[in-house]
Symmetry: C2
Subunit: 277 residues, 2 copies
């Protein structure tokens, strides 16, 4: 059976989009069958390749509360597992909705996710996702190779350990997950290695649990900005914006006075077609 | 500018196909522009992803001798550089021609390449490429990690060093090119690590010069079969066939009595569409 797909990325975090507006194209699959299809699509050699799959379905066709969202992002990781949210993925999702005339880009777009409704704002080629309120938690330790490093625990929907290093090469090849405290992170953790590049400007590498090193991580960029702002002792009486360079591009992160993290950057669809994977 | 593409693979050696029958879609690009487009297409995060690009053009529209071939495979590596031939790529090329009705699969199909015209035979889901006559050369040494290994030098359009190991893990992670004798291989070499799996049945891993470890290498499978047949002292008074397992699947290689190497295996198109990369 052939079905339509698109491929795109946000700062080189890449995804296969599956239009399935009324849920009839993929909605009839069992959980196992859908997981198998996601793995086949994300396979970078035998498939199309991607860090995950974004199924584009009208909220009305799912048994979930709409909360004002016409569209729902059914996100799955490359291994077929479910995930609540993806900061770069949802920015690409909004790009697609506006490109196809499925949403009006002149106003914020509510998009349903398993982590609730998120607001997306499209401004030219820049797309902003509201990642919600961060939780700044304690200090912890991570280690990579022979280096043991102090890190800030930040939770922004998922857990992060942010460590400031003198050079991004300090993290080494990142072929295995950095060691971390299993009492603090019983379900694993994304680890960000950060250097300062200037005033309110940092650069990062990230090791994502379950994925390894990636070219970009939206919630990771958010966690990094928050940790940097806390370390810099930035006053929170107005919105604060940092530039965060990732291996796949540049993001901007704003921590608002009402304690929300806004992730802004480009997202682009590069191909569309049909597949029978 | 949007233009059509397809993606497919042969034993997980994957390629972007660019239909350009009369040469007007991509033929007007300068060499630098075309190299840039190939790199963008093959980028596995920001593009579609592939080990190379196969431009599908009628031989009549190129300034090269047709030698009976209606179609020419303009093959480029993922880094944009030109290459003469690709054993798995040309099998996918033939699959595409037959799928689209551009060639009659009931007879061998001549396909032009920079290494001359190759004959392709399609039999159901199995596609055979005639890789030509191998040259069995001397013994040489390669080393990987702390292991120094004797290897057979086989040339099959490009140079190979085939080494028999006790276990495919002996090759280690293969993150860097195995050391080799620069006097024997001044332009580098593809190195195959081989174990025996049974009678006329081997399994291999390969490190390709310029690409690193790949899931499959068509000429590499051919070189491995020839080296194994020589090592086994197989009589050459009839066609000899070996099964060669690669990480991405299974190939069969036949060394004919008239001294040609035939590479047989599956090749499949998995997606088609348009892109503006």
């Amino acid at each position: 059976m052939s079905y339509p797909f698109l491929k795109g990325h946000g700062t080189e975090n890449d995804f296969v989009l599956l239009p399935d507006h009324d849920g009839t194209t993929h909605g009839g699959l069992s959980a196992d069958e859908l997981a198998r299809r996601v793995r086949a699509l994300c396979d970078r050699r035998a498939g199309i390749g991607g860090d995950g799959v974004l199924r584009v379905v009208r909220t009305a066709h799912l048994g979930v509360p709409a909360d004002g969202s016409e569209w729902f992002m059914d996100y799955r990781n490359a291994d077929g597992s479910l995930s609540e949210m993806c900061g770069n993925g949802i920015r690409l999702f909004a790009r697609h909705l506006v490109d196809e005339g499925l949403a009006d880009g002149s106003a914020p777009i509510p998009v349903g996710t398993r982590d609730g409704v998120k607001l997306l704002t499209v401004d030219g080629d820049q797309i902003t996702a509201d990642l919600g309120t961060p939780r700044v938690l304690g200090e912890t330790l991570v280690s990579v190779g022979h280096l043991e490093l102090g890190a800030r625990h930040v939770d922004i929907g998922n857990p992060h350990a942010v460590t400031f290093v003198s050079c991004l090469d300090d993290a080494g090849p990142l072929l295995v997950a950095p060691d971390h405290d299993p009492d603090v992170f019983p379900d694993g953790v994304n680890v960000e290695f950060v250097v300062r590049r200037g005033d309110r400007h940092v650069a990062m590498r990230v090791h994502e649990r379950g994925s390894g090193e990636t070219r970009s991580c939206g919630t990771g960029a958010g966690a990094v900005m928050v940790a940097a702002a806390v370390a810099d002792g930035v006053a929170r009486d107005e919105d604060v914006t940092y530039r965060v360079d990732v291996p796949g591009g540049t993001l901007r992160v704003t921590w608002t006075v009402d304690d929300r993290v806004l992730l802004t950057g480009p997202a682009v669809v590069v191909a569309s077609g049909v597949t029978d994977l």
